[in-house]
């Protein structure tokens, strides 16, 4: 909301600087987002009378002028201007002066003759016709010839104002006007508010009700509608003061009647509309919902097809305005308009917003209605408009009018106590201070032994109960009075992360220890990711959680795997020559709930990690998986099984089972998919289902006796077919290893000249130990024989 200081001063005696007022407004909840000092730059631009104009001897298009600059004497100024004449009073920018836009002007020389200044246009002073007649002319601004010479134009013309751009919060639509802001200014400065005049003379022989019939058929969308007839309209120019006000708010003057409606919108915050009586067929105004398919052409010549959700103002036959948004094409004020009906109404803000959005049609009026117009300002606005008609003498005002309301206006009363208000704040604001603040805010206060009975001002529709009152008190009293306490009346609670949350953090820390960096990527992805990565989406994609109003195709659906985002993250890094890295993300994936009666999708946490760079391989990735499982699933049965995961390399990937539960997959990213994403180095990727992983966590650690007896170690080197897996050999050893078998370690794998083609050599270190006795060498030799036999039978192994 913009508010010029000069205008605010009409309602409040502001005796502080603009900056001080800015700070005061800030303290009571009205942040000034921008304070513009209009005309601040203008300096040393003075009034001069042109005494003589001669042609420049060396240039056809230039003139040499002598001007009387008052106390600055007679100056020679060279100009290209053509609209000047001898005797004209004009603004002259002297040596070292500054224009509105901050540009500096200095003495100079034009075609061999010195020039001691520059004539200024209205634009160079930042003004137009509405501010000063003639200021919009293409040329030099010709000023009134009765102005004193050699004086600062900025002061003579009052081109000096402060414009406050105030952030008004959504609960205060009553402050979307100059008057509303002025009320707050008066309260915070503790000054009286001078209300704008609302009185007017009426013509007793003219009655609105004789001239027109107004019917409200949609109170649900239009809770209050006032209409007042004005005859003998004399359209014409608005007075200078009004034009200047409109100018200060960035509006152009159009004609007195239109200007009055705009002025009231700015001043009171009430949108007004003036219907030309000639255009209202059948002398009727009907407020109703539009018929489906009904058409209207608005003032800006756009045609709209309406629905039953749109509210229209109609005459006896057709819509003449899109309620609260814009008037119809011919209903506006024309030069020959003889009589008008002023409309002042409250429309439901939600409906105006919907209509405005649906049709893509906005106006100052709709913007105002969207914020909310209260019952009270409907009347204030209309009265103010009629007062201005009267003041400007541009019409005869009917002695009566329509005021159609869904219910009579009720005085809102809040009953509470000083104690309740202070309890919210946590401090003791003195009773008299409370009373004083509330009265400054125009509450009618009755205070009786700590009991408060408050009549709420009608425009304060945001006031409901004592917390609202507490806020009113503290924003005026001052937040500095709030002293820190630490929940002094509250029970002690035991805070902190629960077990599951702590485990998750510790898992992240484990990965960090393995040189991983955590990343965070968007939860929404392009739908084509699913096809690229062969991610299951259900029949016709019915498992996909879709956003109905996505920002773009790339953020259209909720992801069903973290892998595509991770692959893109890797590609991003490789493109930037970050050739090595380990990344992980712990985040959710989303799927439509198969139970159709549950609206909310299922959110499932996944842990995804990627490793890329010259030192990474399938086995560094597996090492990380093993590291996680050794840490959290110690003692569990872990199996790596060839997976069917489409985005992984078919022979370099594995599904991980812990105690028979599939917890996820890992392996090299499938090369052709990598190519597609411009990943030209092998990438190893893993996605684990977090809940499944947690389900196989080892719950408690139990101490195991450390044997006091010596261990017996045996190294076995065997040759087997290259197809034989390490797991098969482990299984064969475990099967017959006996109760003393402690560990089996693979320490060498060899393929080459020293072994038969198609075979490989593998060497294992096997440790036996008992916690009860020293083992006999012979019994271990027997076990080794059993192991070798079993290896021969199961995997056709030969001892090397």
């Amino acid at each position: 909301m913009k508010a010029p200081l000069s205008w605010l001063k009409e309602y409040v005696d502001i005796d502080c600087s603009a900056e001080e007022l800015q700070a005061k407004l800030f303290s009571c909840g009205f942040e000034v987002e921008e304070l513009v000092h209009f005309g601040a730059n203008i300096d040393k631009i003075v009034t001069c009378k042109i005494e003589k104009i001669e042609k420049h001897p060396n240039a056809d298009k230039l003139s040499v002028t002598q001007v009387n600059a008052g106390k600055y004497g007679i100056l020679q100024i060279i100009t290209a201007a053509t609209n000047i004449f001898e005797g004209a009073v004009v603004p002259v920018a002297l040596d070292g002066s500054t224009l509105f836009n901050g540009e500096h002007i200095y003495n100079g020389e034009l075609r061999g003759l010195p020039s001691f200044g520059m004539f200024c246009s209205g634009e160079e002073l930042g003004i137009n016709d509405d501010f000063y007649k003639g200021a919009s002319v293409n040329g030099i601004l010709i000023l009134s010839d009765d102005l004193p010479l050699g004086e600062e134009v900025k002061e003579l013309l009052n081109i000096d104002d402060f414009i406050f751009d105030i952030n008004v919060t959504a609960n205060r639509p009553d402050c979307q006007s100059i008057l509303g802001i002025a009320r707050e200014v008066a309260a915070v400065l503790d000054k009286p508010l001078k209300m704008p005049a609302l009185d007017y003379k009426v013509a007793n022989d003219i009655s609105t009700k004789d001239m027109i019939k107004v019917t409200n058929k949609a109170f649900d969308l239009c809770p209050r509608y006032m209409a007042h007839y004005v005859s003998d309209i004399q359209t014409g120019e608005s007075p200078d003061w009004m034009k200047k006000r409109l100018f200060s708010m960035g509006l152009r003057s159009i004609s007195n009647i239109v200007d009055i409606t705009n002025y009231v919108l700015l001043e009171i915050g009430q949108p007004m509309h003036a219907f030309d009586m000639n255009e209202l067929e059948g002398n009727e105004i009907n407020i109703r919902r539009a018929d489906n398919g009904e058409k209207i052409v608005t003032l800006d010549e756009k045609e709209f097809s309406l629905t039953n959700d749109n509210l229209v103002i109609c005459d006896a036959y057709k819509p003449v305005a899109l309620a609260g948004v814009m008037g119809g094409l011919n209903s506006g004020i024309k030069e020959d308009t003889k009589a008008v009906v002023f409309e002042s109404a409250r429309f439901v803000r939600d409906n105006i917003r919907k209509t405005s959005r649906m049709l893509g049609q906005r106006s100052d009026s709709s913007a105002r209605y969207e914020k909310g117009v209260d019952y009270f300002s409907v009347e204030t606005g209309l009265k103010r408009a009629l007062h201005l008609i009267d003041e400007l003498g541009c019409g005869k005002i009917a002695c009566d009018g329509y005021d159609l309301m869904d219910k009579p206006i009720e005085q809102k009363v809040i009953k509470t106590t000083v104690g309740k208000v202070n309890a919210v704040l946590g401090i003791d604001v003195p009773e008299n201070e409370m009373k004083n603040i509330l009265e400054r805010l125009h509450f009618d206060v009755k205070m009786d032994n700590g009991n408060l009975t408050l009549n709420v001002p009608l425009y304060r529709e945001d006031m409901e109960s004592y917390p609202d009152i507490a806020e009113e008190i503290i924003r005026e009293y001052g937040y500095d009075y709030i002293k820190p306490t630490l929940l002094k009346t509250s029970a002690i609670t035991n805070g902190g992360l629960n077990d599951a949350q702590s485990k998750l953090e510790s898992l992240k820390n484990l990965l960090i220890g393995y040189n991983f960096f955590e990343t965070i990527t968007y939860s929404f992805v392009p739908e084509k990711d699913f096809a690229d990565f062969n991610i299951e989406t259900g029949e016709n994609g019915d498992k996909i959680v879709r956003i109905i109003n996505p920002l773009s195709e790339d953020m259209a659906v909720m992801r069903r795997s973290l892998v595509p985002s991770m692959v893109k993250a890797v590609a991003f890094n490789l493109n930037r020559k970050n050739y090595n890295g380990r990344l992980f993300e712990l985040a959710k994936i989303y799927t439509v709930n198969p139970d159709k009666s549950v609206e909310l999708p299922i959110e499932t946490a996944k842990l995804c990690f990627a490793m890329f760079g010259e030192n990474e391989s399938f086995f560094t990735a597996k090492g990380v998986v093993e590291g996680i499982l050794n840490t959290y699933c110690a003692g569990k049965d872990v199996k790596y099984v060839k997976p069917e995961v489409a985005y992984l390399h078919p022979t370099r990937s594995a599904n991980v089972f812990v105690d028979g539960v599939l917890i996820g997959s890992f392996g090299q990213l499938r090369p052709d998919l990598a190519d597609k994403y411009n990943v030209d180095k092998p990438v190893y990727i893993c996605e684990l289902d977090y809940a499944s992983l947690v389900s196989v966590f080892t719950d408690k650690i139990m101490f195991k006796t450390i044997s006091k007896f010596p261990a017996i170690e045996r190294d076995l080197a065997i040759t087997v077919d290259v197809k034989v897996s390490c797991a098969e050999i482990f299984d064969a050893i475990n099967e017959v290893g006996g109760e003393f078998l402690q560990t089996i370690k693979l320490f060498d794998v060899y393929q080459g000249d020293q072994v038969e083609k198609g075979k490989k050599s593998m060497a294992f270190n096997i440790v036996f130990q008992s916690t009860e006795r020293t083992l006999n060498v012979s019994e271990i030799d027997d076990t080794i024989k059993l192991i070798l036999n079993n290896l021969r039978n199961k995997v056709n192994a030969e001892l090397r």
Partner: protein, 341 residues
Amino acid sequence: MQVQFNEIRTKVNADLEIVSSMKEIGDLKAKYLGKSGEITSLMRCMKDLAPDQRASYGKFVNELKEEVSLIIAKKEEQVKQAETLAKYEREAVDITLPGEEASVGSLHPLNIVKNKILDAFCGMGFEVFEGPEIDSDYYCFQALNIPKDHPARDMQDTLYISDNVLLRPHTSPGQVRTMEKKQPPIKILSPGRVYRADDDASHSPMFHQIEGLVVDKGVSLCDLKGLLDEFVKIMFDSDTKTRFRPSYFPFTEPSVEVDVTCCKCHGKGCSLCKGTGWIEILGAGIVNKNVLEMSGIDSNVYSGLAFGLGIERITMIKYGIPDIRTLFESNVKFLKQFNRR
């Protein structure tokens, strides 16, 4: 006899002059003190002496033996030391060569900051509750006193899955879900991802918030001030101050915007705080009575305070990150900057 003894003494000393290794020391020990060493041999001569001389002879030989042992041991110590030093010399490394990499990763800066915030409040008795990211209109709006026609519900701001289901635009539903399950005293934090239809250098369509809620008897604006004062001191510097100013949120009344003294200039005014000395970091207030009542908490008995923090904003202020999008690019060069503890 004494002459013989002295000869041995001289010989030992001469021999010791030239030994330089532990092996030579060993040889020397054998030569004099070993089984057939010279001094040991002297002992054997005892039987040839008259019995009355034996005692004094034995004493002298023993003294000689002790004396020689001692000087050899002394030399042994010196040689050992010299050998150790020589060994160290041989083992010398260029300590300025680079070490073998023992690198460690790091949490995402947003989670570093999140954890710091959680730590600060957990120490004050808060628990952590995470609700769903996709939630219903009821939890995201209605139960938070955001009526149907409120501008915050506009399609432009919120991403919808259906008319009634949306990507939560704030972590405030966590308040409601907690109050429905739990009776006071309640002290919770609800962190997580949130979503809005906004995408530029200072807005990301996905970002992170932490909602804080306290519900108990007699909770006031002063308590809010106290909690947040503590928090900002832990989060920023111990001299950080807070400032409340009036604001509006549908789910709190009174509502405040909370500023902290600029962490860069400490309130003097700089580019970060746009010369004001203050930075806006969060919104807060006293929980609206309607919100308590809708969640089944008697507002005549209990009151609450709530606050909502944007983790991105605090992270960007703390680390001086100018563009929010950097946080979601996964650039290793970016992520590596935060692994100092």
